[in-house]
């Protein structure tokens, strides 16, 4: 059981939650994540630890509502309890001073990108962040990203905000303009695939933080497996960060869709009951 100590609504579908979790706060490092579960009948989902306060014993999560469990979590209020929180999981991010870091995030990847942007900035790097979405209303965490980035570039598919174009166009622009030492990409598998192809063209070392489907998060089930350099890896224990140029994104893309129909149906059912309740 972890009590919600603070809640801040960033936008319609994104909230920040501060949870009471003293042990996790004490041992976590940037890049680590937790698995949470709500209620006896809930499912286990992974969420990056955005930040932590070891002294006060709390951790911060930034959650984007995309389905049943993230929806339930976003609807909890201060004082409510999250039934199960376990962590910190995964390998920590390799944060060091390298020079200029180009961070690109889209969709569900923006929330987990935030602590990485923060980490690289605090390590003394020049950080350029690209946020990409289909349209203006889907751009999230812009203000928070600006706080830790030297520059934030917004890309929308329809041109309703920032520049019109895909994330890769924004990346190309930066790479053409200045020397980039490292790139970090997090987002839908298809976005990471093309982002990785872009940086590969210029031989820029690139990490992708993979957000695969998980169950236990401790290496026990293999639900999170991906192929990296032709070998099967478990994202929860070997990752979540991998060399983006080695990841088989097509396979990952297919695997993320494994439960699409069931998830959609469950979410629609959940939205209906949530409506009747409110």
């Amino acid at each position: 059981m972890s009590k919600i100590l603070e809640k801040e609504i960033f936008s319609k579908n994104v909230v920040k939650l501060v949870l009471d979790a003293p042990e996790i706060a004490r041992t976590r490092k940037p890049g680590h994540f937790v698995i949470i579960k709500i209620g006896k009948k809930g499912e286990r989902i992974p969420l990056t630890i955005a930040s932590a306060d070891a002294k006060k014993g709390n951790i911060t999560l930034v959650v984007q509502k995309v389905g049943v469990t993230s929806g339930k979590l976003c609807n909890l209020e201060v004082g409510d309890e999250v039934t199960d929180v376990v962590g910190p999981l995964g390998e920590a991010t390799h944060i060091e001073k390298v020079g200029t870091v180009l961070c690109a995030g889209g969709g569900v990847g923006v929330a987990p990108l935030l602590p990485i942007v923060e980490g690289f900035k605090k390590a003394g790097n020049r950080v350029i962040t690209i946020l990409a979405a289909r349209s203006k209303d889907l751009i999230i965490l812009e203000k928070q990203m600006r706080e830790f980035s030297d520059e934030v570039i917004i890309m929308t598919d329809d041109g309703s905000y920032g520049k019109k174009g895909l994330v890769t166009a924004g990346m190309e622009e930066v790479i053409q303009r200045e020397k980039v030492n490292l790139s970090v990409v997090i987002g839908p598998a298809i976005m990471m695939k093309y982002a990785a192809l872009t940086t590969k063209k210029y031989n820029i070392e690139t990490y992708a933080s993979l957000n695969t489907i998980m169950v236990d998060g401790t290496g026990m089930c293999g639900a999170c497996r991906v192929s990296v350099g032709g070998r099967t890896k478990f994202v929860c224990v070997d990752g979540p960060e991998f060399d983006a140029h080695q990841v088989d994104f097509d396979e990952m893309l297919a695997r993320l869709g494994a439960y699409k129909d069931q998830e959609l149906e469950a979410y629609e059912r959940y939205l209906k009951t949530a409506e009747t309740l409110s």
Binding site: E23, I24, R26, T27, K37, K41, G42, E43, R44, V68, T69, T83, D84, V85, V86, G87, P88, L89, V215, D216, T218, G219, M220, C221, G222, A223, R225, V226, S227, T232, V237, E251, L253, A254, R255, G257, A258, Y259, Q262, E263, A266
Partner: protein, 495 residues
């Protein structure tokens, strides 16, 4: 050993034992047929979660107990990894002292209701029973009787909570709540220690909960045992990964003096053949965890699972049988076992193979998968299989399966469960640089005390054996508890 024999002899010569022995002629005892376990109808049970075996009625338990000859040299006991006093508990059943029988079991086995259900008796106690080795007849149904006595005690509501010594206020930590951890926790509590069990998952029980399905081992049975441990003062911390949530050093700072690691063989193995990462292909751990731990088959629960119509399960162990029978229960029209050796080499319990056959499971023995294919969405839809034949025995003593060239063929499948074994959980070895492990990743321990290369750390169960049985894990837990007790007491004396 001498002492044990002496003790057994003395026990056996007690008046009640002699009397009950004399109450019936040996000939009459041996002329009886072995009882049959009542089972649910295969065509009903393969559509529900109901327990397959429903347990012996009292009359039949007594009849079966009468078959036991109360041998002067009870060879059955040599087959029991924890040395249960088998004739004594059986004779207690014969005298209708069922609670007495249960307490005999508990002298050496903390979880008799579990072991009575899942032990491979046919290669343990029952394989060395006088009936099997000398009379060439079906052995006394020791497993059924063990289950009977334990169930009787639980259902009587008179479950006895073992006595615990006065608290010595010394904190010990148990890593993992599988059978090894639970057994160690029970004994350490009896010795008076302040015991905390740390479990990574949100449920206690290890494989007993997330692996072995409800139709073979109902969760309530495990829960009763856990409640008993709680009554003995054992504390449980779920969602706590030792080595991640807190390190051993953190815990030592918090006052923990010694640890028992029973972290199991958590890591699923795959075959690394083409197409194995397509959707619809699971490890048995994932498949069983979704269904057993997360209740995925119940629409009220949020976790989804794919319930295929044509399901292939690769492997021949208990895990494979549990997966294939689960698939049938989730509505598969065709649920197949694909195993590269023959039935004789299958490591699964004989009873599970029999039950699976009754439940309409297809067995493709001497077959091996070569490749999987998928539709355009990446969901598996077909697999290539090769026929095998048995060659020379390999290192395990089993005959090695050899592919038959040109025998390949295709089968339509929409779900595949890969159940070809597990590797030791790497979390603890990763967290402790000084810990001595084998090339396989199992923790190296002293065989008697279960002490590892780090003096305050003891280990047992699958993390030491690399995959074994519930009873061996429990036996390790108990041995380690004794080892830890000795270690801590000696340390205290030295100070």
């Amino acid at each position: 050993m001498e002492n044990i024999l002496e003790y057994l002899k003395e026990e056996r010569s007690q008046e009640w034992r002699a009397e009950i022995r004399k109450s019936m002629k040996a000939k009459e005892r041996t002329s009886r047929e072995r009882v049959k376990m009542p089972e649910e109808d295969p065509n009903v049970r393969n559509k529900s979660n109901i327990e397959v075996n429903s347990g012996l009625p009292i009359e039949n338990a007594i009849l079966e107990a009468q078959r036991c000859l109360d041998c002067p040299d009870p060879t059955c006991m040599t087959g029991c990894p924890v040395g249960i006093n088998i004739p004594k508990f059986i004779k207690k059943i014969e005298t209708k002292d069922f609670l007495g029988a249960a307490s005999v079991l508990k002298e050496t086995n903390g979880l008799p209701a579990v072991c009575g259900r899942v032990c491979p008796q046919e290669v343990q106690c029952e394989s060395t029973c006088f009936y099997t080795i000398k009379l060439k007849k079906p052995p006394v149904a020791i497993g059924y009787l063990e289950r009977f006595a334990a169930d009787y005690e639980r259902e009587s509501g008179k479950m006895n909570v073992p006595n615990v010594a006065d608290s010595n206020k010394i904190k010990v930590g148990i890593v993992g709540s599988g059978p090894a951890g639970l057994a160690a926790a029970g004994d350490l509590a009896k010795f008076g220690y302040d015991v905390t069990v740390f479990e990574a998952l949100h449920e206690i029980g290890g494989v007993l909960k997330y692996g072995i399905p409800e139709f073979r081992l109902p969760n309530v049975i495990v829960d009763v045992e856990i409640d008993n441990l709680k009554k003995m003062g054992v504390k449980f911390r779920t969602n706590f990964i030792v080595g991640k949530t807190a390190s051993f050093d953190d815990l030592k700072k918090d006052g923990f003096e010694a640890f028992f690691v029973g972290s199991g063989a958590g890591l699923p193995r795959f075959m690394n053949i083409p197409g194995e990462n397509y959707n619809g292909i699971f490890s048995s751990n994932e498949y069983l965890t979704r269904v057993n731990l997360m209740n995925a088959a119940d629409p009220d629960y949020d976790t989804p699972v794919i319930s295929g119509k044509n399901v292939a399960v690769i492997g021949g162990g208990n895990t494979a049988m549990d997966s294939v029978r689960t698939a049938k229960r989730l509505g598969a029209d065709r649920a197949m076992i694909i195993y590269r050796r023959s039935e004789k080499e299958m490591p699964a319990r004989v009873e599970e193979i029999k039950h699976a056959k009754e439940e309409d499971i297809e067995f493709m023995n001497l077959h091996n998968p070569l490749e999987y294919y998928a539709d355009e969405s990446g969901r598996v839809n077909r697999m290539k299989i090769q026929k095998m034949e048995l060659g020379e025995p390999d290192a395990s003593g089993r005959r090695r399966p050899v592919p038959i060239e040109g025998s390949e063929f295709y089968v339509d499948v929409d779900t595949v469960v890969v159940s070809v074994g597990v590797s030791p959980n790497p979390l603890i070895p990763k967290a402790l640089a000084d810990l001595k492990v084998t090339d396989w990743g199992t923790i190296v321990v002293d065989k008697e005390t279960m002490q590892s290369s780090i003096p305050e750390l003891f280990a047992g169960g699958d993390i030491v054996r690399g995959g074994a049985t519930v009873i061996l894990a429990m036996g390790d837990g108990r041995k380690a508890a004794a080892g830890m007790h000795k270690y801590i007491q000696e340390k205290i004396k030295a100070n």
